[in-house]
């Protein structure tokens, strides 16, 4: 490494200090919040039956880990989320490709897609239960319903934005529309597909939880709704925390894939 000027060294160390400060502040904020929560619950500022406390949540977590029931719930929710995500990816890209290949079809369907996309999908869940029954299939469909329409619209818009001159290049080389799709549109849309999927994994999780609220016997959504009805609010809070961690984990995995891809390019 070349010798750095003193001004550059100063700048770098200031940058480092700033980063350090932000990280420490985050930790302090979190720890302070937990401490305040714990203390207020113990000395009776808040009703620990309703608001629980960090220690109770921790114990509850360990307890449910020990009898393995938590793992079952997590496993079910995770499987349902990944399955609905998988179907959203396949169906989303497939439909967007179809719309791109047949612009007239896209024109006809556009208003319907917009309406379906702006519909609050949680309103569909009770219907899905009645139509498809209270089973895993319904929950996967509920998960898909939240993400699918937005992905189709965004992917289709992205496909349309592919460089018209590059598409012309394929035409001048004697290619047809399928060549334009496979050689230009799809490869140039990979970053878009990755960023849409990053959002979708979270949306699928939301949809699956909505589904589990209404029609499940297992899963974190079921755990939340069942525990709240039996006033085990500690378990509700614990399940919500676990959900937060799952959501963060899934997002990070896709983020990592996206970063890998960009680096490779």
């Amino acid at each position: 490494m070349p010798d750095l000027s003193s001004a550059q060294t100063k700048y770098l160390s200031r940058l480092k200090r700033e980063k350090y400060f932000v990280n420490i502040s985050r930790l302090v904020l979190f720890a302070g919040f937990l401490a305040l929560w714990e203390v207020s619950a113990r000395i009776g500022w808040i009703d620990s039956f309703i608001f629980s406390s960090p220690s109770a949540i921790g114990l509850n977590f360990l307890d449910m880990c020990r009898n393995q029931s938590l793992f079952t719930h997590i496993g079910i929710t995770l499987t349902e989320t990944l399955l609905s995500f998988f179907f959203v990816v396949i169906l989303g890209i497939g439909t967007a490709v179809l719309l791109w290949m047949f612009p007239k079809l896209a024109k006809i369907l556009e208003p319907y897609l917009v309406v379906l996309n702006s519909l609050p999908k949680s309103a569909l869940a009770p219907l899905l239960i009645v139509w498809l029954g209270a089973n895993v299939r319904t929950i996967i469909v509920a998960g898909m319903s939240v993400a699918i329409f937005g992905s189709v619209i965004n992917l289709y818009t992205g496909f349309q934005d592919a460089d018209p001159d590059k598409r012309k290049l394929i035409a001048t080389l004697g290619g047809n529309k399928k060549d334009e799709l496979t050689k230009i549109v799809l490869p140039s849309s990979v970053p878009l597909i990755l960023s849409i999927m990053k959002v979708n994994i979270g949306l699928c999780l939301v949809g699956v939880i909505i589904g589990e609220f209404i029609g499940a016997r297992q899963g974190l959504g079921y755990l939340i709704i069942y525990s709240s009805q039996t006033f085990k609010l500690t378990t509700v809070l614990m399940a919500i925390l676990v959900l937060c961690i799952i959501a963060m984990g899934l997002y990070s995995i896709l983020n990592l894939i996206e970063k890998r891809y960009t680096k490779q390019r």
Binding site: D165, A171, T172, L173, G174, G175, D179
Partner: protein, 255 residues
């Protein structure tokens, strides 16, 4: 001698809901085997539209384009087309970019592949074959784009302002480079440009178009009195300036 390409009385309009815009009006000219034609005209006059008609991407509303006596089709294999930018695909290596045309035409035959090898070697792109386009200079990128076009062994090359995206110095060098390559491969070409000097330096004949709707104003034959003419050496020819003035005057009427 029979012409290689015959453009006969071609007219075309663009249609939009707000109305009709005539782009080409009764354009006729021939291109002889081995000839280099340049097309100049005021900007927006329809030069690129003319190339699109010649290569069959647009069908004329009136008139016809014949190559060796038969009409051209969409994406006609007898023609190679170079666009304003090189449009090398960043997600492919240079080698894969050069193969694009053959892939699209499903002609990855051993014979065609060895032709590509030969050209990569001749034109100094051998060592860049696994490089990404962004790692190459503007000139090298144009060479790669040219090889991508030549790989299909077209009988006629259409050049749609292929140097306009380059800075001035690179542009002179690249046009010299491409001009020499085309001469070496003995390919006739039609170059569309708004740069009068470029047209004179490369072409055997210059077709001057009027403003929109474009029609042929004048066709100027270029005879430069120098040996081993190349695009760069042409610029030093004694008559270069008078050709420039002639075309400049003609074009200025339509500016």
């Amino acid at each position: 001698m029979k012409p290689l390409l015959e453009v006969r009385d071609v007219s075309l309009s663009y249609h939009t809901p707000s109305g009709e815009t005539a782009a080409l009006s009764h354009i006729s000219f021939d291109l002889m085997p081995g000839e280099f034609l340049a097309v100049v005209g005021p900007s927006g006059c329809g030069k690129s539209t003319l190339l699109n008609v010649i290569c069959g991407l647009l069908a004329p509303e009136q008139g016809s384009v014949l190559m060796n006596g038969t009409s051209v089709s969409r994406g006609d294999p007898r023609m190679g087309y170079m666009l304003q930018k090189d449009h090398l695909l960043e997600w492919r290596t240079i080698y894969k970019n050069v193969l694009l045309g053959l892939e699209v035409r499903r002609e990855l035959t051993p014979e065609k592949l060895s032709y590509i090898e030969k050209m990569l070697h001749t034109y100094g792109l051998d060592k860049f074959r696994s490089a990404r386009p962004s790692q190459l200079s503007g000139g090298m990128r144009q060479r790669a784009a040219l090889i991508r076009t030549l790989a299909l062994k077209p009988e006629l090359l259409l050049l749609d302002e292929p140097f306009s995206a380059l800075d001035y110095q690179t542009r002179l060098n690249v046009s010299d480079d491409i001009g020499k390559i085309l001469k070496k491969e003995n390919k006739p070409a039609i170059l569309v440009t708004h740069d009068i000097s470029e047209a004179i330096s490369m072409a055997d004949r210059v077709i001057i178009l009027t403003k929109r709707p474009a029609s042929v104003a004048k066709i100027v034959s270029i005879h430069l009195d120098i040996e081993n003419r190349t695009p760069l050496s042409s610029r030093n020819a004694p008559d270069f300036k008078s050709y420039f003035n002639l075309i400049w005057k003609e074009l200025n009427q339509y500016a």
